[in-house]
């Protein structure tokens, strides 16, 4: 039986339905929405913090959502090894909650960037990337954010590198990561990281937007397939 996903809905989430659709209709999983005021995770196997502008991005992105009643349950679930994926605003919430190391600054261009980008896969041995074919150096997934400029202190970055926590880096189609292929100024072109234990992923690109073949690419399926594959095996 396919696992059950819970998509958390904060006031201002706007990729919740995309995530629901991709998981339900394309990946054939059980999915339900979890309203942020209700701390019950309803026995979901995976928690998705979707993209959007929770609480209008007031103060800092993710800073207020991090204190929503459901977040205590999500933090508890994650600390016990539960699988959590934060996409875009969801990534920002995970950073604010301290579940992942670092912080998001404004894009160096000061612009909201919405486009397809290539991501170099840095680590194929994670819960979230195990089904990406190794011969594919990159996956193509869109970004859409104004604050995706990942920053971490030197100590944090050292820990991220020492533990092989980088999963995706912005690159060109061939996997070259340089300033030219850095859409937002992120440190080391970082687009997605996991926690030390490996059960939490935060990524700025939107895999849920490239699952349905009608949308031109299905690379997003790799991420959800990986999670399903991990849980079923």
């Amino acid at each position: 039986m396919n696992p059950k996903f819970g998509v958390v809905v904060f006031p201002g989430s706007n990729c919740d339905h995309d995530a629901y659709y991709a998981l339900k209709k394309i990946m054939n999983c059980d999915v339900e929405f979890l309203w942020h005021k209700n701390p019950d995770l309803n026995n979901c196997d995976v928690i998705v913090l979707p993209g959007g502008f929770s609480y209008g991005d007031y103060l800092r992105t993710g800073a207020i959502a991090r204190f929503s009643p459901i977040m205590n349950s999500v933090i508890d679930f994650a600390n016990k090894g539960g699988i959590v994926i934060g996409i875009c605003n969801g990534f920002q919430i995970l950073l604010e909650a301290g579940l992942l190391p670092g912080v998001m600054l404004q894009n160096t261009s000061l612009k909201f960037v919405c486009k397809n980008v290539y991501l170099k896969v840095e680590n194929y041995n994670t819960i979230f990337s195990n089904s990406i074919p190794v011969q594919l150096q990159t996956v193509r997934i869109p970004i859409a954010h104004g604050e995706g400029n990942f920053f971490a202190t030197e100590t944090m970055l050292k820990e991220i590198l020492d533990n092989n926590q980088i999963v995706f880096r912005y690159s060109d189609a061939n996997g070259n990561t340089n300033d030219e292929n850095n859409p937002n100024g992120s440190l080391m072109n970082i687009a997605g990281i996991i926690n030390r234990k490996g059960n939490i992923l935060g990524m700025m690109p939107h895999p849920e937007r490239v699952c349905d073949p009608i949308l031109g690419s299905t690379d997003g399926q790799f991420i959800f397939k990986s999670i399903i594959n991990y849980l079923l095996n």
Partner: protein
């Protein structure tokens, strides 16, 4: 009761693209002496307490856990009795 005035600044080591962009405006205005523009936040609120130590403790917690992100920001505040 106290009035709290909180100032939140980005750490000096962290780039401030917004400050840079605003400073370009200063150059367009012909204000050539303006340099190192940094944009922070000013937040004020009341603290319903008559005990200054208790008020400070609560404001510190508010600043540390919510108003600022210690990875990239520093904060300072002042309290005045009202």
């Amino acid at each position: 009761m106290f009035k709290a005035k909180v100032l939140i600044k980005r750490r000096p080591s962290i780039l401030d693209p917004q400050g840079k962009a605003v400073e370009k405006g200063a150059q367009h205005l012909g204000l050539t002496n303006i340099k190192n523009t940094r944009i922070g936040k000013f937040i004020e609120f009341d603290v319903l307490s008559d005990n200054v130590e208790e008020a400070k403790k609560e404001v510190n917690e508010y600043c540390l856990k919510l108003l600022s992100n210690p990875i990239m920001e520093d904060y300072e505040f002042e309290l005045s009795e009202i």
